[in-house]
């Protein structure tokens, strides 16, 4: 279970990215966070795995404080949390398999990883992760030679190879076209349901949030302004989160539905 306890993050420039956030996320939940750019979605995810240090409060993951964790404990915590990025963050010059094996580094000794002698069982885990996102045939292709959607599936496979209990996805479809976005979101949903991995996804398209979010959390200027189910989140709720009326730009749908259609 994940618990944010009055968590705050203030960046060195004085920007309050997260203000006194208190939130409880039970195991196995698929949580979607929505909000405008700069509302604190990315900060929420990065505070969870310690990539961004908290300046107030705490985050407790399975009973362990992220804020008090030292280097080794933090790595141990992170090894249980797979992360998926908007820009994929693959090493494009190397093979898909080498990228996915990065998810096994936490279980691999320094000398072994320096020499690239991954254990056969780790390679097996990586291959299975690639199979789960249906891209194993590209294992020995350079990451640079894949399309955007394929690269993101490799990103998901890398996170899965960690055998995580939590998946963090930071705008995973923001660099993809609508049909590919649905493929990637369905992959995440399937993984969440089949493996029971707690999944936290940042999205800025509201229709996607409604379709895939078991629970939706709305952030505005670093503060929690909505917490409820996808079904409950209608146009008024989103207007609260965004602080303005919805426009077609807030929706991804191929046919660009009108703002009214999401409240249907």
């Amino acid at each position: 279970m994940i618990r944010f306890e009055h968590a705050s993050v203030t960046y060195p420039g004085g920007v309050h990215a997260l203000k006194d956030l208190t939130l409880e996320i039970p195991d196995g939940q698929m949580l979607v966070t929505v909000g405008l750019s700069g509302a604190g979605k990315s900060t929420l995810i990065r505070a969870l795995n310690g990539l961004v240090p908290l300046t107030g409060g705490d985050v407790i993951v399975d009973g362990i404080s992220v804020r008090q964790a030292n280097g080794k404990q933090l790595r141990e915590l992170r090894s249980h949390m797979g992360m998926i990025f908007q820009t994929f963050n693959l090493v494009k010059r190397t093979s898909v398999l080498n990228n996915v094996l990065m998810g096994r580094l936490h279980a691999t000794g320094s000398w072994r990883s320096l020499l690239g002698w991954y254990r056969p069982e780790d390679i097996e885990i990586a291959m299975q992760a690639l199979e789960r996102v249906d891209i194993v045939e590209k294992a020995y292709v350079r990451a640079a030679n894949l399309s955007g959607g394929q690269q993101q599936r490799v990103g998901i496979a890398r996170a899965l190879a960690q055998e995580p209990t939590i998946l963090l996805a930071d705008e995973p479809v923001a660099s993809l076209d609508p049909p590919t976005s649905h493929v990637v979101m369905r992959d995440l949903q399937r993984i969440n349901r089949e493996l029971g991995i707690t999944t936290i996804v940042n999205l800025h398209f509201l229709d996607l949030a409604k379709i895939y979010g078991e629970r939706i959390v709305g952030l505005r200027a670093g503060e929690l302004v909505y917490d409820g189910t996808g079904a409950q989140a209608d146009e008024h709720v989103f207007r609260d989160i965004y602080g303005r009326s919805l426009t077609a730009d807030d929706l991804m749908g191929e046919a660009r539905p009108t703002p009214a259609s999401i409240s249907a």
């Binding site: 990025f85 963050n89 190397t94 691999t108 730009d249």
Partner: protein, 268 residues
Amino acid sequence: MTAAAPASRRPAKPRRSPFVSVGLGAFVIITLISLSEEWGIGLDIGSLLEDIGRGLPIIAQLLDPNWDFLPRVIEPLIETFQIAVVAAFIGCAVALPITFFAARTTVPNRATLAISRGILSVVRAIPDFLYALIFVAAVGIGPLPGILALIFFNVGVVAKLLSETVDAIDTGPIEAADAAGSRRTQMVRWAVLPQVLPNYVAFSLYAFELNVRASTVLGFVGAGGIGFLLRTQYQFLQWSNVSVIIICLFVIVFAIELVSIRLRRRLV
């Protein structure tokens, strides 16, 4: 997503920084002062034209290489090649781990960065010629002091160039490795090294090429290789023989360059 902004909301074009024009102006002024007779080296174009004829006999001999001398060149040339290979191999291997302590992106903390950069600056500030003098004094005449001198030279050059390359890479994969709970060495090995590997190979070949050229100087102080032969021939004013040595060195350096271009094309 967003439509074109109305003209009034467009920001004003930023003014060009005076840095470039001031820098260029300063450079021109320093050059003029350096050329002036009063404060500088006092370059006299007239004497250049008057005396140029004196060099003609030497140039004539250089253009007429004495190919009978070639057999005596082969053996020291091979020694030069071997010194260069061994020094480049060891020097570049030592430089690789040092690089990651001298790059902002991969260094564990600021103190380590300052210390390793400081050491590298000192290593690079000492010329290869001086290293050769020191090692000849320490271990005696022969190829060994040459190899030792070139190792130091190569570590300085390669670690400097590669650490700057590391600082310019895509940092996305580093974040991914951190998020996966990897240690720093693992992050460097799998998120950084693959990105700079082609540069590392290119810099290593460049170091090897520099070593072949440096051998001419190293031989002067008795650190082995072709330089010693070059010195004796030049002292006895045997310009036709010097010419053969220079042509041989040119061929080697050119061959390395060709191999390096091919390797780089395959790696990038």
